[in-house]
């Protein structure tokens, strides 16, 4: 019921967007790690007005059993929007859109997780969109990969994600809701930063071949920026727990590191 009106223009004569951003400028982003106590790992992200929480459980026993994979863990992602996260109330039952987005999120995270370390088990990722203002699947991936890391799941990399789109003929990164609704197209993508490989790619709208290539390049650049934010958020979460005294002369401490906990043996990747 909130008023939603099509703006007169999406790009001003000065080349700025409705909210004053430059075409290649992200919205303000805040990521937090370890926001839920019951989950094995968790993270939240605020990106503009979009607000999402991700929780990870596992690896744990898989139910129902028919989903079991004998040589690896099953990564299960459930993306849900709260009924009140959008202008019109969303119906509580999962929609086809939510199911598809759950799948593409899972497919963008699977390549980086050492799933083979935990055969027969499941790693659950639950994403709840508390407030939706464009870019929720990408924000969900940003938060989910932080939650996975927070759960101690071994991964090749964090996965940053951003949508690049087009409005009034300009390519824009990190589309807001209006730009998404009234613009000419949208390309959500996610990357593995140290190799620039693309793990999520969707497109709608109308783009030329050249525009797609340019948009993808903008996306990769923005993902590098997002990756820095992700790393900072993770490190902050663990550094924050560090006590007042960061003294370096603790023998105990040294010794504890010697312990082999029987953690996952991570094999070489090559």
């Amino acid at each position: 019921m909130s008023p939603e009106v099509k703006p007169d223009y999406l790009i001003s004569p000065e080349g700025l967007r409705n909210d004053g951003r430059r075409p290649d400028e992200m919205r303000p982003i805040e990521m937090k790690v370890g926001v839920l106590k019951q989950a094995d790992g968790s993270a939240s992200i605020r990106q503009g007005k979009t607000y999402i929480i991700a929780a990870v459980y596992g690896p744990r026993e898989l139910h129902p059993r028919h989903l079991t994979q004998n040589d690896r863990a099953y990564l299960r992602v459930v993306y849900r929007m709260a009924t009140f996260s959008v202008p019109d109330r969303k119906r509580p039952a999962p929609s086809r859109r939510e199911k598809e987005i759950s799948m593409v999120i899972a497919n963008s995270l699977r390549p980086v997780i050492f799933l083979e370390e935990f055969p027969k088990s499941v790693i659950d990722v639950f994403v709840t969109v508390i407030q939706a203002d464009g870019g929720t699947r990408c924000a969900a991936i940003n938060a989910a990969s932080l939650a996975l890391a927070d759960a101690g799941i071994p991964m090749r990399s964090l996965v940053p994600s951003v949508a690049v789109g087009k409005a009034d003929g300009h390519l824009l990164v990190d589309l807001g809701d209006e730009e998404d609704k009234y613009g000419q197209g949208d390309i959500p993508m996610a990357t593995i930063p140290h190799s620039d490989e693309i793990v999520l790619l969707q497109q709608d709208g109308s783009f030329t071949r050249e525009e797609i290539m340019e948009a993808a390049q903008m996306g990769i650049t923005s993902c590098k920026y997002l990756h820095e934010l992700q790393k900072d958020a993770l490190k902050l979460a663990y550094a924050r727990k560090e006590g007042e005294n960061g003294g370096d002369d603790d023998d105990d401490y040294e010794d504890d590191l010697e312990h082999d906990l029987g953690e996952a043996e991570i094999p070489g990747d090559d």
Binding site: K37, A55, A82, T83, F84, S85, F126, I130
Partner: protein
Amino acid sequence: MGDWSSEVISHIDYDYVRDLLSRGERLDGRAFDEYRPIDIEVGVVPAKAEGSALVRIGNTSVVAGVKVLVGQPWPDNPDKGFVMVTAEMSPMASPLFELGPPKEGAIELARVVDRGVRESDTVDVSKLCILEGKHVYTIFADVYPLEYDGNLLDASSMAVNAALATTKYPEYKMEDDKLVKTENMISIPLENMAIEVTHSKIGDSLVVDPILKEEMVQNCRITIAVDENDKMTAMQKGGGIGPLTLDDLDAAMGVSIERTHDIMALIKEAVKSLK
């Protein structure tokens, strides 16, 4: 929700909780009639929800959001709008909550919270009518648990009440037989408020605001909704099949009335903070 009688509880946990209670102590050191710290934050979904609140009770937390839509009235109540409360047990909130369509426990949670709001006439639905038989305001309050460490019911009840109390939505008018949105932002016509207070019966003891470890070993739970006039407006015995005595019920009502006063004060304070 909160019927964990089919889970395997370790004998050690079971005995420990009960043994402590028999000595007059709770696991976390609280008095039997004492809540964990309660934190109520309103306006947490400011851009999309008409009203919202995040409530924490200890390590349990829920978020509730309100949507106000203009819709058709029920045929049997053509001059009244309506309020509907839903809640689910999102698997995000606990390893005990399973994926899939709402199960009995989630439905009970939603219905009990809904009953607390509905039976107390929290909202004066006769003031939600725009055009009799045609257009009324319909109010949906939906609850999502984020962290479950016991007592989702009371957290949900608080969150719904706080969200309703902070809801602002555009007023609609009939002009020339047409429904028009005005610039005017209005509040929900709140008449009464009822807060649900849950107790666990464990052994011979009755404790308020159970944590998960207490729910796990309870004989049963009793939830009592108390309104602004100290009247009971809804009750539910659940969470196990253990019986209650009349003395239990009387004691639970006494504690519920007292705690409701405290909780209402907290909600009013939170609502004021937004204004």
